[in-house]
Subunit: 113 residues, 2 copies
């Protein structure tokens, strides 16, 4: 309503503030892991509503916030939508190989019920 560029501010931890325990905790929830996998599979950033999740909107807002505050994703308003993107660069710099091995493990686990 007032900002020059029309985007509201959104709190993100800096790269140095990202903690391993927080990232692991964020990824340990099935809904959030699914969100991260969806993001990782898309080259572009996605709006919140483009996810197909087994929870209500309230709950997914909560999970998006957990992911953002733990440093796993970056969120930015764009009009009425909010675009979400993985913080791949930061995560890879801080915890090399971690994100990829988690994504690979999730994909592998999904294939073998």
């Amino acid at each position: 309503m007032d900002a020059a560029n029309g985007t509201r501010a959104l709190a993100h931890p800096t790269r140095e503030e990202i903690l391993l325990e927080g990232v692991l905790h964020a990824l340990s929830d099935p809904v959030r892991l699914r969100m991260v996998r969806t993001l990782a599979a898309s080259p572009e950033r996605l709006s919140c509503s483009s996810f197909d999740l087994p929870v209500t909107k309230s709950t997914s807002t909560h999970h998006f916030r957990v992911l953002r505050e733990s440093g796993v994703i970056r969120q930015e308003y764009r009009g009425t939508s909010k675009m979400n993107g993985l913080r791949r660069d930061d995560l890879d710099a801080l915890f090399p190989g971690l994100l990829d091995s988690v994504l690979a493990a999730a994909a592998r686990q999904e294939r073998s019920p």
Copy 2:
């Protein structure tokens, strides 16, 4: 008192029963992550009392159980002690690279206050 080898039974998940979410959750607690790091640094298995932890014995029993039931460690009685070892083979087979990247990330994070 009665078993031929003097060891009581202890429930462990099979390799197929180990879930990524459970492992991530187990590793997301600072105390448990410390336990795992200590185990990873030792070539031999360690008794519960050989850990130097900032919690009481009750609490560490609880954390050891979470690690065992999630499939991260293997526990076995030996006399009055209980020996603990990482399930490296199973974890590496299920989630290649995951454990190593978590351990490396934990070590890296510790070095940078």
